[in-house]
Amino acid sequence: MTSRFEDALFAELLEVDGATRSRLHARLAAEAEAAGVLDIAYRTIDSPLGLLLLAATDHGLVRVAYAIQDHERVLDELATKISSRVLHAPARLDLAAHEIDDYLSGRRTTFDLPLDFRLSSGFRRTVLDHLPDIGYGTTASYATVALAAGNPKAVRAVGSACAKNPLPIVVPCHRVVRSDGTIGQYAGGSEAKRTLLDLEATP
């Protein structure tokens, strides 16, 4: 059915330039936000730890992800677990981006932005609730956190709660280290964990 004429004709119509796409996208994001149908807004920020993905619901920041966690995959997960109404819409993430930037520049030691913990539940959620008790510049062992979370035997579960932390950096799972003093694993890679601990150790 399709002949070369149609191919040529529609090849021309296929071309939608990047500027047009961005303009239409920004307009849709603003209109969707105003209409209350933007369930998840996301943006990326450049950081010393690489490109970070930030995503927020209307309740607050719901996900922070490192590049090695594969941003496309993370967005797919958000669409599956929360809502498919996901748009690149930087405005909703302005505060989060600002606070993370301040933190990574050493200008801020705690976060006070609204957080949405809906991606975490049960014991993992309990663990996350206790992580901010580990102060800036200090660390705690997985065993200590297990004890604080009310289940001293659940050391491995604390490890997996940290590994699955949907809000790394902001909820400081990087401050949980192994009892033998080595830093242990990290969702952003152990190098990122080392960078964060060094940053916090710098007065």
Binding site: T2, R4, F5, E6, A8, L9, F10, A11, E12, L13, L14, E15, V16, D17, T20, L24, R27, L28, E31, A32, A35, V37, L38, S83, S84, R85
Partner: protein
């Protein structure tokens, strides 16, 4: 895909509004969509309605009656280099333009186009092939490349 469909049906300028309204409307309706729905056909159906709204709005503007959507001369042409293409598309009857866009740009089979446009799959196929036949005469540039 939706933007290309809107452009083919409406021309480059009015297409922006139709595109934005299509997706906003799609986002509003999305939670009610059945999981097994054909997303492309669904979006084209919404785009079809939004494009018709644009056609009506434009038709109500007395200056442009009885023509279908005209590209306002004062607006910069966001598509740029193909004014002949838009002129050729614009001169097609609306139904042919829609059938061409939904089949060749959105990739919908004629049976689904018939559901969007009303009428039969045979009629949809006929409208598309007549549209293409006319474009072949009115827009010869495409044949060269």
């Amino acid at each position: 895909m939706v933007l290309r469909v809107c452009r083919a049906v409406l021309g480059p300028v009015a297409a922006d509004d139709a595109w934005s309204e299509t997706f906003l409307s799609a986002m509003k309706a999305y939670p009610g969509l059945r999981p097994d729905s054909n997303i492309e056909a669904w979006l084209v159906t919404i785009a079809h309605r939004k494009a018709l709204d644009q056609v009506r709005v434009t038709a109500r503007q007395p200056v442009l009656v009885p023509e279908l959507p005209e590209v306002p001369v004062t607006d910069p042409d966001p598509v740029g280099e193909q004014p002949e293409l838009w002129t050729a598309l614009k001169s097609l009857p609306l139904k042919q333009r829609q059938a061409v866009a939904y089949h060749y740009l959105a990739g919908l089979p004629y049976a689904e186009i018939a559901e969007v446009l009303g009428g039969t799959a045979v009629a949809a196929r006929k409208a598309a092939s007549e549209g293409i036949a006319t474009l072949r005469k009115t827009y010869p540039n495409g044949a060269e490349s």
